[in-house]
């Protein structure tokens, strides 16, 4: 984590953009950093959370030198309130694959992004398969962090239950998704962000994550030759472990690359920002064609010059 002095103002701007999703106006909050004409890098948060997970990518001077980094809140998340034209309060919030993918593409369209690189984690990683299947011509590359063809077991009633403190439980059911050696302040902040989700939204996102998303028999439909796919899964991610990432890349075939990231878990960008940003720069270099060697099967702290005490 970077250190700051009194009065420092971060070079991150927050704004709202109106996005038409299936004929309904959504007021979407996004933050961006980097030059206006930089190469767009569009960032999707995890289930039940918000764009604050990406603050360390937005604040990385090396990344924002070349990239216009944009992190948004999905509808119902963070500062993107539910649509004012809809009666949303008399039904459970439920995210489907179609709605999720359409929303991401609509946000890219509304911001007039040309050939953006898309990156998301967890449900934001899984959706790279739908994006690569349905919208391969819309993105320059897809980076799926913690991606699996199918990730069952997390659509759990206790995560939205009147007899449970869901504010705490939605966060701490995720505690073990992080590597214990990731810095404690960053892991505690990750849980703090999780405690900010609205009632039922985490579970509703997990309908997509654990039920609706199932590409086990459809991986060959993902067009990674038109749109390169990077499947980047952390060593400590017990849900979508690195072996699952390799299975995804193998199933997709040409254009798909699997990378295991050592000593990190399911929330890499927020649980260990220093290590993740170093890993990310290697992946971005590969997209740009700036690497002499292919990405290794396993990226470690040693590879990227970050000391990871074990």
């Amino acid at each position: 984590m970077s250190e700051h002095e009194h009065g420092d103002i971060e070079e991150i701007d927050g704004q709202y953009v109106h996005v038409d999703v299936d004929g309904v106006d959504h007021r979407i909050y996004f933050e961006e950093s980097g030059p206006e004409d930089g190469k767009p890098l569009l960032l999707q948060h995890t289930a039940g959370c918000n764009n604050q997970e990406w603050r360390h990518v937005l604040a990385d001077d090396e990344i924002t030198e070349d990239y216009r980094v944009i992190a948004y809140d999905l509808p119902f998340h963070g500062k993107s309130v539910p649509p004012t034209s809809e009666v949303w309060w008399d039904e459970d919030y439920t995210l489907t694959a179609e709605r999720f993918a359409e929303t991401i593409v609509s946000i890219a369209d509304a911001l007039d992004l040309e050939d953006p690189i898309y990156m998301g984690s967890s449900m934001g990683g899984n959706i790279t398969l739908e994006l690569g299947d349905w919208y391969p011509d819309r993105f320059r590359a897809l980076i799926g962090l913690e991606t699996g063809a199918h990730s069952p077991g997390f659509y759990i009633d206790w995560l939205d239950h009147a007899h449970v403190n869901t504010t705490e439980v939605n966060a701490y059911s995720c505690w073990g998704l992080m590597a214990t050696q990731s810095p404690e302040p960053a892991r505690r902040e990750t849980m703090y962000l999780y405690e900010q989700g609205a009632t039922g939204v985490f579970k509703g996102d997990l309908y997509y994550y654990s039920v609706d998303h199932d590409y086990r028999d459809d991986l060959d439909q993902v067009d990674a030759e038109e749109c390169p796919l990077y499947v980047v899964n952390g060593e400590y991610d017990y849900l979508t472990d690195p072996e699952m990432g390799r299975e995804v890349a193998d199933g997709v075939g040409d254009g798909a690359t699997a990378v295991e990231t050592a000593d990190i878990g399911h929330f890499p960008m927020s649980e260990n920002p220093e290590l993740f940003n170093a890993y990310l720069k290697e992946i971005l270099a590969d997209i740009e064609g700036d690497r002499e060697e292919p990405l290794p099967d396993v990226l470690s702290g040693e590879d990227v010059g970050v000391d990871v005490s074990r």
């Binding site: 239950h161 449970v164 705490e168 073990g176 214990t180 400590y236 017990y238």
Partner: protein, 145 residues
């Protein structure tokens, strides 16, 4: 590393002191964590009797006269991994371990048992109580902190 063997009498005495002096347990336990739980290490079962977020008593081999709401079971190797200062992936936290067992059918990990509603009603305090086994085992040093 503590010289006491995992789950020996001296180890559990130290564990009780660690839990009862833990500031986070006091905050997250909200003085209301009263659900007894057991820890099963191989063939040995230990009942942790809780009283308002503190450990009241630890009972070896509990029987019909005792009551509990939930527990965690695993072979000794899995628990030895769990209490390491930097545990290996998938035995580093109880929900992680349980997922590998229950959903992935991946042997060698800890498994939750008992009343799921009470587990989720007390998740953070229960989770903290288990994490403090790692603190106990490493003389107060815990990669989780």
């Amino acid at each position: 590393m503590t010289e006491a063997e995992l789950a020996s009498n001296d180890w559990w005495e130290e564990y009780k002191a660690v839990v009862n002096q833990d500031d986070e347990m006091h905050v997250r336990g909200h003085d209301t964590f009263d659900e007894n739980f057991y820890v099963e290490i191989g063939d040995e079962r230990f009942l942790i009797e809780m009283d308002e977020g503190t450990v009241d008593e630890i009972v070896s081999d509990p029987g019909m006269n005792h009551a509990w709401s939930f527990g965690v079971e695993g072979d000794r190797e899995a628990w030895e991994e769990f209490v390491q200062e930097v545990p290996p992936a998938f035995n580093h936290e109880v929900i992680a371990s349980h997922y590998r067992t229950a959903v992935k059918d991946d042997p060698g990990h800890l498994q939750l048992t008992g009343n799921n509603k009470k587990i989720f009603q007390n998740l953070r305090a229960f989770q903290r109580a288990l994490d403090l086994m790692r603190t106990t085992h490493n003389d107060g040093v815990n990669s989780d902190e």
